[in-house]
């Protein structure tokens, strides 16, 4: 079905990003109004799509298309929204909404540029999830890389720049590999539309199949931060400001997971992966990566870096459980994607609040943080409990389904890694909670040091907004923890749209 509103999901944030520098020239105070306007149009747009196609979302027949410039798929670019991309867009938009409200309270200097880059990220993430065209996907990935790379260096400190350069090193190599893969695909198949490629990919010679698959896989593994390429991740999580880290961990890694699912299941086809004997290798790599992430987290003396390492652990776990290619695996994997998105983003957001007066993110400076901001610290603890999988929270449900998927597939190593992950998580999180409750006495000089060490914070630090967003994340975790069955239908339907590739191909090429 042709639907104009899904292109608006991309061009509204794009237009907002374009207009903000202009507004800055006229009157910088109007900026926030336009930011809120842009995000509310976006939300309204998405809501109207949900309302109109509610029945189709429920019975899994949602399939919206848009042909850009009116060209039919093999010749032009097409946007596709099926249940999978709908689910991802919905949660990503919700998460991005939270983070932008948070950053209204948080970001002090260069606010205009921050919002430009942020709206570019919104546009690019929606675009990357909606597009049905390989080259278009590459463009949006590049957009994400550039915008997030600039945001990592937002603090303009030495470690920030270093992390940004490292991030760009890895991600631009990954981007060029994706470009190379797209090029090879076009060279061999003469088409860029995902559905068309999927239709003809199986007919290729197995050597070329391996060639293309290997390049895409390497690129996506770099982007996700799975084992051999996890080195850029903790550094960039550590040295970027809190809302950016929340975006990086909460949104970007999930978008790459989505793209991984799209490329492997829709475009390349899981049968091809099995025929190339790559699936076992990938599962093992992912589980090893998960293991390493948790082990690294044990030695981290820096809370944000620790959360970065634990992200490696969780993403590896999700990757492995998705690679099982069973319905239970997808169910657990996507549920954990949602859970992890909100938990990690919430944790980074809470960290940004808690670490506002500390000298650094270091363990020893974490002392007494909990006593200073008790309500936020309690939210922080709740989110940590969700990370390790305690029951009334969403983390438990997702851990349950992931474990179930591993055991159902008789992958006992995977189940062991899940258990191991949550056990090590207990050890490394409890240490920080204990430190947070330690009494601390500050001298006058210490206080001065702390205030001067925070150039990012403006004088008008809007504490209430920041606290509110932390609570909002906690509330989401608790509400979905009790009502995770609300997600049952969307999850089932998106699994169906992953598995049913023929329908995708038929609807794109035929409609």
């Amino acid at each position: 079905m042709m639907e104009t509103r899904i292109i608006l999901l991309i061009i509204v944030p794009l237009g907002t990003a374009f207009i903000i520098p202009f507004i800055d020239l006229i009157n910088a105070k109007l900026r926030r109004f336009f930011v809120l306007l842009g995000i509310s149009i976006q939300i309204f747009n998405l809501t109207s799509i949900v309302v109109q196609y509610f029945d189709q979302i429920r019975d899994g027949s949602l399939f919206l298309q848009y042909h850009l410039g009116g060209w039919q798929p093999p010749f032009g670019i097409n946007l596709v929204m099926d249940n999978l991309s709908f689910l991802f867009i919905a949660i990503v938009t919700l998460s991005l909404l939270f983070i932008i409200i948070y950053s209204i309270g948080y970001v002090g200097h260069h606010e205009g540029k921050f919002y430009v880059l942020y709206f570019i990220i919104i546009a690019a993430s929606n675009g990357a999830m909606l597009t049905g065209d390989l080259f278009n996907m590459y463009v949006f990935i590049e957009l994400l890389t550039i915008a997030s790379g600039a945001l990592i260096a937002f603090q303009r400190s030495h470690p920030g720049s270093e992390a940004a350069i490292k991030y760009l090193f890895y991600n631009i190599i990954a981007g060029s590999l994706i470009f190379f893969g797209v090029l090879l695909t076009y060279f061999n198949l003469g088409t860029l539309t995902m559905a068309d490629v999927a239709n003809n990919f199986a007919a290729l010679e197995s050597g070329i199949q391996l060639f293309i698959t290997a390049i895409f896989l390497t690129a996506l593994l770099i982007k996700m931060g799975v084992f051999p390429f996890l080195f850029w991740l903790p550094k960039s999580y550590d040295s970027s400001p809190a809302p950016v880290t929340a975006v990086l961990s909460g949104v970007l890694s999930k978008i790459y997971l989505y793209l991984f699912i799209r490329l492997i299941w829709t475009v390349i086809g899981f049968e091809t992966i099995v025929a190339l004997n790559l699936n076992i290798l990938l599962i093992d790599i992912a589980l090893f990566s998960s293991f390493l992430g948790h082990v690294f987290a044990l030695q981290a003396n820096n809370i944000k870096r620790l959360l970065g390492y634990s992200s490696i652990g969780h993403i590896g776990m999700i990757f492995a459980v998705i690679m099982l290619n069973t319905e239970a695996g997808f169910y657990g994997g996507i549920l954990h994607i949602i859970a992890h998105m909100f938990m990690k983003a919430g944790l980074f957001v809470a960290c940004g609040y808690l670490l506002q007066y500390t000298v650094s993110n270091h363990y020893r400076d974490f002392k007494g943080v909990g006593l200073r901001d008790k309500p936020v610290f309690i939210a922080f603890i709740i989110l940590l409990l969700s990370m390790i999988g305690m029951p009334p929270l969403l983390g438990f449900a997702s851990k349950w389904f992931i474990l179930m998927a591993f055991l159902e597939a008789q992958s006992y190593f995977g189940a062991f890694i899940v258990i191991f992950g949550s056990l090590t998580a207990v050890i490394y999180y409890l240490r920080y909670i204990a430190k947070g409750f330690e009494e601390v006495r500050l001298s006058e000089d210490d206080l001065k040091m702390e205030v001067f060490n925070q150039p990012l914070l403006s004088v008008l630090y809007r504490e209430k907004i920041v606290t509110f967003i932390t609570y909002a994340y906690t509330a989401v975790i608790i509400i979905f923890g009790f009502g995770f069955r609300f997600l049952n239908i969307p999850l089932r339907m998106s699994i169906e749209s992953i598995m049913n590739v023929e329908r995708y191909i038929e609807l794109v090429l035929g409609g």
């Binding site: 207009i19 520098p21 570019i120 790379g149 003469g190 060639f211």
Partner: protein, 239 residues
Amino acid sequence: MHKYLKKTLVISVFILTAIALYENFLLVPEYTGLRTGVSDYIISSGLSDTGSLNLITAVLYDYRAFDSLGESTVIFGAVSGIVLILSRKMLPVSSRGLSFIVKRTFGLVTPFIALFSLYVITHGHLSPGGGFQGGVILAVISIIFSIVYGSAFDYRRYSPQVKTAMETMGAFTFLGLGVVGILMEGFFLKNLGFLTARTGTLISAGSIPYVNFGVGIKVGAGLAIIFYSMIQKTFKEDF
């Protein structure tokens, strides 16, 4: 790690990768044996579809105009990022430019460079070139200004505010043409039929020349901003 050991390791890994890539490239079929469905279609009916003589421009700004929008947004984002990271308060008057002869000669040449860039931009659908290339040439003018006349010259003539406004305007031209496409023709970035004249003339090929123009301004202004934010002076206390 020992220095030579590391060197050996690096070299051996590169040799391994080269072998692996070579092995795989051997499998790729010859150029003549490819499936060329889409490109054949574009070559045969690109002109009649879009009215652009230059098929590359037809692909860039019509068939895959959305990609071009994305690419120009990449530059937009890069400009924002670089300005964000490198933005400083003052422009150094590091040099007073080159000698009088160079200044005067360049003064004579500048209009021609500008004209050339305008030509490249506006004839994008007729001859090689297009908004992107022309925009870069436009930016080069600004760079040469700073080399020849000293870095403050260009700053005084065209302040960063003007450049930002130009960049935003270019971006909005592109986006606006896309939205007009929705309103008039029903699809985002659809070529505007009512603007098309006889093929081969300057004002033909629907909205392509206008898109070219927007991209040209945007790219030119954006790259100039990047260059100027790089030569600005650093202050320690600004960090």
